[in-house]
Assembly symmetry: D2
């Protein structure tokens, strides 16, 4: 697969590395609105720089990875689909439901392989968790708890443009919840506070949140977010069922244990997503290539992006109005 990358920033670089390591994928071009950024990355991997617009027409491009800024995602996604290119789009497609729905319509009209960048589905640990549940190891799943905390809060200016904690951060947890609960979610209740950085509150956002989801059969799910965990990236999931419990624990760089002055000490969790999800980004590329070759659905699709966004909308509505929201009311 000849894969072109639009967006050579932090997440673009992560993808470039994963593409480079994949035996079946060639990084066929890099594009970025900021030309020097594109040039630096292209030169590192020995590939071409193209203007973003040229990517869609390029004959040597089979597929496009959209890692540019959020407001450009939906347009690029539609252009890729219309050009018949496979597309792996970073989440979110857009920050609002209407724009997201429009993009999905274009995909219906121009069906191409389209994967959405919910990287956590590709994490080996969460994948093993999903599989163990599917194999019945915990019997009937009854409750799910998802803890997701970033090591440090983003700058307030980022927060303002991010769409807010539910759309920007918890969106990953909503997707995990949907994927693991594996049945329709009917109710959403959210509570949130600004406890870490007052400037986040001034920007109209929260930095700490708890959300409860209820499924059609009565399964309950708790999501716990914080914008700052001083000890690193806290990424845990606990699935509880009739025959037991499965916990995906935090990963550490090594398994060294020190016993002495402060106690029995193991390392803090891996610092952030680059470290924690390095494998996931590699597997995401593999899944994308596999879906493209086999003409099958990728593990995370554009409609998964829409559904996660509906949950974020519901949570935001719940927080704003101080009441539980029926997901059916979110269109």
């Amino acid at each position: 697969m000849r894969l072109a990358l639009i967006g050579a920033g932090r997440i673009g670089k992560v993808h470039a590395q994963a593409i480079d390591a994949h035996p079946e994928v060639t990084l066929s071009a890099v594009a970025d609105f900021h030309a020097p950024t594109a040039e630096a990355l292209a030169s590192q991997y020995g590939t071409r720089v193209l203007p973003p617009d040229a990517i869609f027409e390029d004959g040597e491009v089979d597929a496009i990875l959209i890692a540019s800024s959020t407001p450009t995602h939906a347009d690029y996604l539609e252009r890729a689909a219309r050009a018949g290119k496979a597309v792996l789009c970073e989440k979110p497609i857009a920050l609002d439901l209407a724009r997201t729905r429009d993009a999905l319509q274009v995909l219906v009209a121009h069906p191409v392989t389209c994967a959405l960048g919910f990287n956590r589905r590709h994490d080996p640990q969460f994948a093993a968790l999903k599989q163990s549940i599917a194999e019945g190891r915990i019997g009937d799943l009854e409750t799910l708890s998802i803890i997701s905390r970033d090591p440090a809060p983003p700058p307030a200016e980022y927060v303002g443009a991010s769409g807010g904690l539910f759309r920007d951060m918890m969106i990953h947890d909503f997707d995990m919840a949907r994927w693991l609960l594996d049945e329709p979610i009917v109710h959403v209740h959210a509570e949130g506070s600004c406890l870490i950085d007052p400037s986040i509150g001034e920007a109209g956002d929260i930095d700490t949140a708890m959300v409860t989801l209820v499924t059609a059969s009565g399964r309950l799910c708790h999501i716990n977010n914080s914008r700052r965990a001083c000890y690193g990236y806290d990424q845990r999931i606990e699935a509880f069922g009739s025959a037991g419990m499965l916990q995906a624990q935090n990963e550490t760089e090594t398994r060294l244990r020190f016993t002495g002055e402060p106690g029995q000490v193991e390392e803090t969790p891996k610092w952030f997503f680059l470290e924690r999800y390095a494998d996931a980004y590699r597997r995401e590329i593999s899944d994308f290539v596999g879906a493209w070759k086999q003409q099958r659905e990728p593990l995370a699709s554009a409609s998964d992006g829409l559904e996660a966004l509906r949950l974020a909308e519901a949570a935001e509505c719940s927080l704003r109005e101080g009441r539980r929201i029926a997901l059916n009311d979110i269109h």
Copy 2:
């Protein structure tokens, strides 16, 4: 302290053992509506049997431990107070707020040392957690998660008379939440399902619940209850703050680890409250004696019982009405 015990059932026996082991307390009498039960326990510890009514007038009784059935608690508590006896009352005082408030009024009029049986406050592990938070080990407390799962559901007939999951089971977690959050709770939201035993649902109750509490300053608390954890009594607390996280993990009988066929295996958690909270029951007696001797408040008081019940009422109201409840509206 000459301590008389009313109620010689399961929990009464636990208390009798703790009393017997305490160097400063004598079990001065045992009472139970079912005389043979009282006789068996009294004979085991070489003490007298008295009819329940006689306890309150007995000159050789300094204090009364009420471990009889729930509907008798409030009456006995009031009679003890009027008789000037110190009293340690099993939770709850009553299943409704009005009756509880009446009992508290009697205590105001007849001030005696009165402790409520929130045994978990006396658990060495949770006490250490509380102290670590107070010492600032995690900085400002921001979120709290309390997981509490019983090993097996009670019979449906018990459920019917229990007052429901929130009053009967989660009441302990509400008390833990109040104790650890250490500031007023303003909002309560509850979700609950009947996933384990349909007869519990038929009795009008739930067996699986998630509740969110919000404090005045915006701290968030999650409580997670299940009536059945096939692996034993799941009693964990996670406190998260600006400078770190503290987790009270489950305890096991030994620290043996087997590595072989199914993996690296440690024991399941201690099976139920008798095993898990044996130390807590002993320390509860110590605290009660200490409060009585020093004329100080015990660690858990009658008003703590009232406040925990208000949270249970709020949760039940939230579940019934499908909306978030302001605690101020619960009188």
Copy 3:
């Protein structure tokens, strides 16, 4: 059982507490060469003080617990046997084989219930380990590793009179090894160094040691001793076999885990034997009473003391001569 205690020092106090807590045992007298020490302990438990010599003739004494200084053990043991009293003797019977053998001869001539204070056999964790091995959980036992480290070295004057690390400290591990290996030991090799405190070396002893034992069938056992582990009492055993491995891990006061500045931190192990083996001392009394009532062998007998001492002698000889010792050569 009316049990008299000779020796009211540190270990005597531990035993007095365990005796007091046992429902079937009465502390019928306390003796100590230092009368005020005996009086203090006797008064604490409301019992009599007797001169040591009077204990053996006392009609209200069924059994004697010898917790006096090591040089008195053998004499007291013999006098107890001759007086027909059951006896629980702190280890060692004596610091040399000849004196120990003499005492055993007296026990043959005057058979009484005689238990030796190898407290670790009564530790719930090591008992569970022993039972799991016996039940075949690890298949055929092949290798055993015993780690035993004290929190802090004793004063040099203690070391001089102690009989040396092998007789004073590793004696417990030799007993554990015999108990768990459960077949004749044929070879002993020892290495030792003085790395912690030069005054221990000046007193002719070592503070750090590694010993290898080989059994008749070729099982291998490693024992690892240090007189100082800055993090507390390090008491671990690893049993490895054809079907898996069992590890008895260190115990901690609570299961609290802190995650933050220095990492993921659990408590250091319990500080020393009083904390770590509190349960073991209680169970030791129970076993002693049970053996006396049922006229059976206690879990650790005088001949176990002899055999452990032979291993200590062999280790010392190995260290002195820089060669492997056949246990058959130790008489």
Copy 4:
């Protein structure tokens, strides 16, 4: 670096993968006595097949990785040195000291960058352990315990040609011991048994061993080997010192934990060296390239191979003669 690979078997394939993943190294040729094996590997990585003999003369080869059968190592190493090629040689250089010394002489006469395949030095976990000790985290190192168990015993025919457990398997642990103890070893004592597979004993070898090393300053080291751990590759190190203890624990594929029927279960350790040391093999290539470019010593050199072999010889002699061996007597 244009690197040619001699030996396309199991370990050769591991190296080929690590070479392919390294941005600064090209796999410039593959050689194997069995031509189809070489062809398969060469075709997988798109490189040339050369006869082994041609490698040394080839102008497009900067360096040679020797992964052929053990008896060929010394010859190839010498030919590489004489041809001025850098060389990374799998351990051992030879199974006897004389042949190894000859090869080292050739390296003195023809100095090229020469690394030896002690892959464990490159393991991130053991490297972090080494660094922590060097930084003084445990104060003065006093004792070291190295546990190394293979998942399954090799076939008896392999054992016969392997040089025996000490040269074939424990050689890695001897190198770890030297590297971590960081001072001269003076004494070696070995015990060994055949407990797993009688055919190993018939081939004159052992399958279970314990070795004790003593350093010049009195540090003690225990090495524990088994040819079969039913639960996978058991690779642990414990370093104990005046200020604490460091333990390198086994690694698992994920950090999933199941709680239910058999207990609290984590995965068994990674199955064997391919899984456990995948990172180490990659870092080994990096170190080799770095040493070659910077004209510095690689992390493990040919003389490290000689010294580890001396320890193996001493252990074998100790086992054969049933006595402790002074390393000075091994020439």
